[in-house]
């Protein structure tokens, strides 16, 4: 316990000595992370492009443009990272520090929850087929944006799934994965 408190105090002292408030430090860390990610992408791309045949100027190969892009990308992202590190680039990562912790947490859940729903859709589609997957994803989307009314959200999600099935699968003829529910509604709506 004592060691934990001492560690925390040490962290606090370190923070105070760095001269930056906590929120600004977090912002700079986020900016640097984006810079590192861009740098990593450019290194990977350049490494990949070096494995392609670039041919000659007279007979350019499939690797010529990727190599040119790769070098320029590495140069630009390195420059960007250096500028970020030196604090020469003032990015406007919008951080509203006037918001209290709960609202910040709510917004975090809204954004990352919506992203998670979008990411989960292809996997759900495989297991629950169209109506099931759409209902689940729409319900969670509605839930992260308005968590108070669970049953209304569930009803709305199901209605939205049926309407989108009717528009896309029946009217527009899009080929969705079919299961029991889809067969049932297809017969009923057609």
């Amino acid at each position: 316990m004592r060691a934990k408190i001492l560690k925390m105090l040490g962290d606090k002292n370190k923070r105070a000595s760095s001269g930056l408030p906590k929120s600004k430090k977090g912002k700079k860390r986020k900016e640097l992370l984006i810079g590192i990610a861009l740098l990593a992408v450019s290194i990977l791309y350049l490494m990949g492009s070096l494995q392609l045949k670039y041919g000659t100027l007279k007979n350019p190969g499939p690797g010529l443009l990727p190599i040119i892009i790769g070098f320029f990308l590495l140069f630009c992202t390195s420059l960007y990272f250096i500028k970020l590190y030196k604090g020469e680039i003032k990015n406007n990562i919008e951080e509203n520090n006037s918001l209290n912790g709960q609202i910040k947490r709510q917004r975090f859940i809204m954004v990352y929850g919506s992203f998670a729903c979008t990411l989960a859709f292809p996997f759900l589609l495989e297991f629950f087929k169209f109506i099931g997957a759409t209902t689940i994803v729409t319900f969670f989307l509605l839930f992260v944006l308005r968590p108070q009314k669970i049953f209304i959200n569930l009803g709305l999600a199901f209605i939205m799934a049926i309407i989108s099935f009717w528009i896309f699968a029946i009217l527009l003829g899009v080929a969705f994965p079919f299961g029991f529910l889809e067969e049932l509604f297809f017969k009923w709506l057609w």
């Binding site: 392609l52 499939p62 990308l73 919008e94 919506s114 979008t118 990411l119 292809p122 989307l141």
Partner: protein, 502 residues
């Protein structure tokens, strides 16, 4: 000229068929709705509805998109004037004078002048589009790979200069877009590039999930993060819609100046409707007989910029139809759509498919007229769209994006890419990166690569042979000047200030 008129009337006859009239109407309504809703611009709407167009023919798709683009410009001005909420970027400047006019009880006059100005500017720019495209396309038929390479390079460099924000960030986005365009089979040798053994990537990264992710999903994520705006909805009475004679008189010249400026600026790469409104506002402030009224509700400050943003739309179509190169992000989506329909935009398209081109042009006139007729009577209805709660609207947009992407290839990979690019777009936009250069570079990338490799082949590997062609040299010179001229101007101003202080 006789041929142009004949083609135009043939196109008009086709555009007046019920199916195309319906697409134009849907486009105008969807465009107005997206223009009214803050955050969701024409670009987002076009990206979201892209998959729907696959069930139409290419002409129908283009008519729908033209309606959306023009409609968004009309719709954006409504909320700017009535609520001081710009529905999309090109309407920001209208807020300044438009909302002041509302405060003074002249909202109806501002809305009418804005709608009529947009209609006149739209019609002028479509005429400009007809003439300029036919003229440019004839010249472009004589262009070789070196010239096309120069146009692509010039377009991308000017885009970096005009996009706004950090130049370094814009260059990174362009390079990332070009890097994405190199994924998949090399079209000349059949070599696989950056596919990492994933078979679905052999055909390259589809434009659709990237555009829908960056403009659709990212937009939703950014919107839900912001606090919901709630303002009292302003009602406009019918009798208030009529401007006074003095207001008509004061708006007449700004509309024509705005139309001219907007069309010219629309030809330049970058977010032309936005730039056009700013330039028009500044020029009106300088030309006005009542400069003291600016900032307090000057009608010229509504008429000029509103005309300019609509005229810029027509201008933006010129390089697309004449050269096959999109200079604005919205046009990149149009190119993507045309390619999905198996059409390659460019001078050959006008030559080989004149019926398609002229039907689209004629439908633009029809769409513009529809917007004028629809918008003024339905203003109160469109403003009410703002009352739809966000928790209900955002899931619908996400759902449309997901189903839209899936409906093209029925591919789970496309859905994963949609989510991934949505998140990447959200992070990058929050960090001050503009997504438009990435999308444009992704579309221009393959054209640039083809023309570069063909030009090098033809010139026997001589880079000088590409640069010193008369047209390409002029284009490279213009590009260089766009970077050098501001520097020279800054040095000149500094030396003048130093001389004056001495």
């Amino acid at each position: 000229m006789h041929e142009i008129i004949q083609y135009f009337f043939n196109g008009l006859a086709t555009a007046l068929t019920p199916a195309y009239l319906f697409y134009a109407l849907i486009g105008c309504i969807m465009g107005t709705i997206t223009g009214v809703l803050p955050g969701l611009g024409p670009l987002g709407a076009m990206a979201i509805l892209l998959s729907f167009t696959l069930k139409m023919d290419a002409t129908g798709a283009m008519i729908l998109f033209a309606g959306i683009y023009y409609g968004a410009m009309y719709g954006g001005s409504t909320t700017s004037i009535l609520l001081n909420i710009p529905g999309e970027a090109a309407s920001v400047i209208t807020c300044i004078e438009g909302y002041q006019m509302t405060q003074r009880g002249r909202a109806g006059a501002a809305l009418t002048i804005s709608a009529v100005g947009s209609f006149i500017a739209g019609s002028i720019s479509i005429f400009g589009l007809m003439v300029a495209t036919s003229f440019l396309a004839d010249i472009a038929l004589r262009f070789g790979p070196a010239e096309f390479f120069a146009i692509c390079v010039c377009g991308l460099f000017l885009l970096v200069r005009l996009t706004g924000g950090s130049i370094l960030q814009s260059i990174i986005m362009i390079l990332l877009g070009m890097a994405l365009s190199t994924v998949g089979f090399d079209f000349l040798t059949g070599t696989k590039r950056f596919t990492f053994g994933i078979i679905q990537l052999d055909q390259g990264i589809d434009f659709l999930p990237v555009a829908m992710g960056i403009f659709g999903i990212a937009e939703v994520l950014l919107t839900i993060e912001q606090a919901e705006l709630s303002r009292p909805i302003q009602k406009v009475r019918w009798q208030d819609l009529l401007p006074t004679f003095a207001e008509w008189k004061r708006s007449f010249m700004p509309i024509f100046r705005g139309s001219f400026l907007g069309f010219i600026i629309g030809l330049i790469p970058g977010p032309s409707p936005v730039i056009a409104t700013f330039v028009s506002y500044i020029s009106e402030k300088k030309c006005s007989k009542y400069p003291e009224e600016f900032g307090r509700g000057a009608i010229e400050g509504v008429a000029g910029p509103e005309a300019a943003n609509n005229a810029a739309v027509g201008g933006a179509y010129v390089p697309l139809f004449a050269l096959g190169i999109p200079f604005t992000p919205a046009m990149a989506i149009v190119v993507g759509t045309l390619m999905l329909h198996g059409l390659t935009p460019g001078p050959n398209l006008i030559k080989n498919k004149p019926d398609f081109f002229w039907t689209v042009i004629a439908s633009m006139y029809i769409g513009n007229f529809m917007l004028l007729v629809l918008n003024l009577p339905l203003i109160n209805l469109f403003v009410r769209i703002l009352m739809i709660p966000r928790y209900f609207l955002m899931p619908i947009i996400v759902l449309i994006c997901m189903i839209g992407v899936y409906s093209v290839n029925a591919s789970a990979l496309d859905l994963s890419l949609l989510a991934l690019f949505g998140f990447i777009g959200y992070i990058l936009r929050k960090s001050g990166f503009q997504p438009a250069p990435l999308i444009l570079a992704m579309v221009i990338g393959p054209m640039l690569e083809t023309s570069l490799r063909q030009a090098l082949n033809i010139s026997g590997g001589s880079i000088g042979g590409i640069i010193f062609h008369p047209i390409s040299f002029t284009l490279f010179l213009i590009t260089a000047m766009s970077y050098i001229a501001p520097l020279l101007w800054r040095v000149y101003r500094k030396s003048r200030t130093a001389n004056c202080s001495n």
